[in-house]
Subunit: 301 residues, 2 copies
């Protein structure tokens, strides 16, 4: 998915919010905004939004000298999410379809996104889960259950801290011995890294690797060779979050995208309104991939 | 009121909307956005937002070669608003305080603002009036009535097309022989010019002048000498809309601002939420002006 002209005001707003998150100095905020304006004027719109965001957040870390500006926020998000796990696990175990209930909760966790909403509270998180369990969602639930039943190897691309605790609940339902969890290679926004996987105990449940990249998405060319190999070979790939969708939705191989629609551009792309909970299968290429599933079927919710 | 860093993403969004309003050519949209990004990177934040918008809209007219990109929209807005006048005039005449009812309707008209919402429908306009008549508003109604009773000369600074039809209803309640109506000196966004004053029949009711400037607000330094003279001498000034507020709120002389709060920065400035209908008296200077009214009193709604 390319960066739209409409993404630019939004990236600029994110830049300002991020600058305010890491510093109270108005001169620094202005410096950041002016720098972003300068290079946004020359930016290549054929990149995906996560590629643009990667560049900006690298520069933000350079200007501030802070390696992980969102560390405190991530720690808090993991803590809040972990507290909700015992009761959510009960909800899953007592539901008619534990796998689908866990998938819905994992999608709900995707509202914890500092790129979109800088200030997620415990009440927001609780409310998101309640909504996720009652609201309709858009996608390929049945196909997902079939694919999960067949797959021998599952690559699970995590998105954000906090959210990754909810991912744990879904991974528990997927027979963890088949699952390899992938996190970002370095801190960017509140995206999950190895630290967060450990914080929510996923390192003792599944094999965890990082993708070698500091983009808030999955830019294959920027990822490690090992990751790209796994990406090609996995029977089933579960990609969490808008960033992974924006960067991988044009891939030829089949992927399941689990996310909450948070911006009008993504909403246009999947033809569903902002706020929709999505479990979509995408396979835009001619090669249908290891599972040979049908192409993108947006309407069979 | 200076331009905030938060205004920049919003100005950029407006730039894109304006470009799409005047042309269907994606290459032109991109050119406009890139140019705005370039000069926004170097812009002087000590200017008011209307000064920034003035520069952008001049450039937009240059790039497109269209002198009045919003002509069609303005014509339609005047027409829709005019159709509502007879029944609104009845509402005013049968109300307990015709002056205040007319003021509320004039404030409601301020929602017709292409800089904020590019697509105002008849239903929006009707709804805005209904809301204006039932919702509380913030400000100095009593002071306004007193000032209107005392004033020998009233300068009425119009804001947008469409809205100017509703201004007519307020002017009818102000003894029009005292009123001089001021419109913009040249087309900018959907701001009212002499053409719009004529379209709603105000040219036959009051003396109409233009301020000599193409800013979507009132930048005194950019206005004609005649306008500045009138601005100094008038007993009472009524300034409609956010643009006039943003550009005149720091003036020493007393002004009544009538507008609907449409952005978080203005909301911060007057300490009232977005959506508030405002009839505020402002007199920030030491010279209390011809009416010698008390300073800004935001809480006596």
């Amino acid at each position: 998915m390319n960066t739209s002209l409409d993404c630019i005001p939004c990236l600029l707003r994110q830049a300002l919010e991020a600058a305010r998150q890491v510093s109270k100095d108005p001169a620094l905020h202005e410096q950041v905004v002016r720098e972003v304006l300068q290079w946004a004027g020359e930016m290549d719109l054929n990149q995906s939004p996560p590629a643009v965001a990667q560049r900006f957040h690298r520069r933000l870390r350079e200007i501030t000298g802070i390696e992980d500006p969102y560390l405190e926020a991530k720690t808090q998000q993991n803590r809040i999410a972990l507290e909700l796990l015992p009761s959510l696990r009960n909800t899953i175990q007592s539901s008619v379809s534990p796998l689908m209930t866990a998938a819905r909760i994992a999608i709900a966790g995707n509202m914890i996104d500092m790129g979109v909403n800088g200030n997620v509270t415990e009440a927001d998180m609780y409310q998101a889960v309640q909504n996720a369990l009652s609201e309709p969602f858009y996608g390929e639930g049945e196909l997902f259950c079939q694919a999960a039943a067949k797959a021998r190897s599952i690559l699970y691309l995590a998105d954000n801290a906090g959210e990754i605790a909810f991912d744990r609940l879904l991974i528990e339902q997927l027979m963890p011995e088949r699952v390899k969890l992938v996190v970002r290679g370095a801190p960017v926004i509140n995206d999950a890294t190895l630290v967060d996987a450990k914080a929510v105990g996923l390192d003792t449940l599944v094999e965890v690797m990082d993708n070698g990249s500091d983009a808030p998405g999955t830019l294959l060319d920027d990822c490690s060779q090992e990751f790209r190999h796994r990406f090609t070979k996995a029977d089933l790939i579960i990609a969490k979050g808008q960033g992974n969708f924006e960067s991988l939705s044009d891939q030829a191989r089949g992927l399941f995208f689990l996310f909450k629609v948070k911006c009008p551009m993504v909403a246009n792309h999947i033809m569903q309104p902002v706020g929709t909970q999505v479990l979509a299968y995408s396979n835009f290429g001619t090669d249908n991939g290891p599972l040979a599933l049908p192409p993108f079927r947006p309407l069979s919710a």
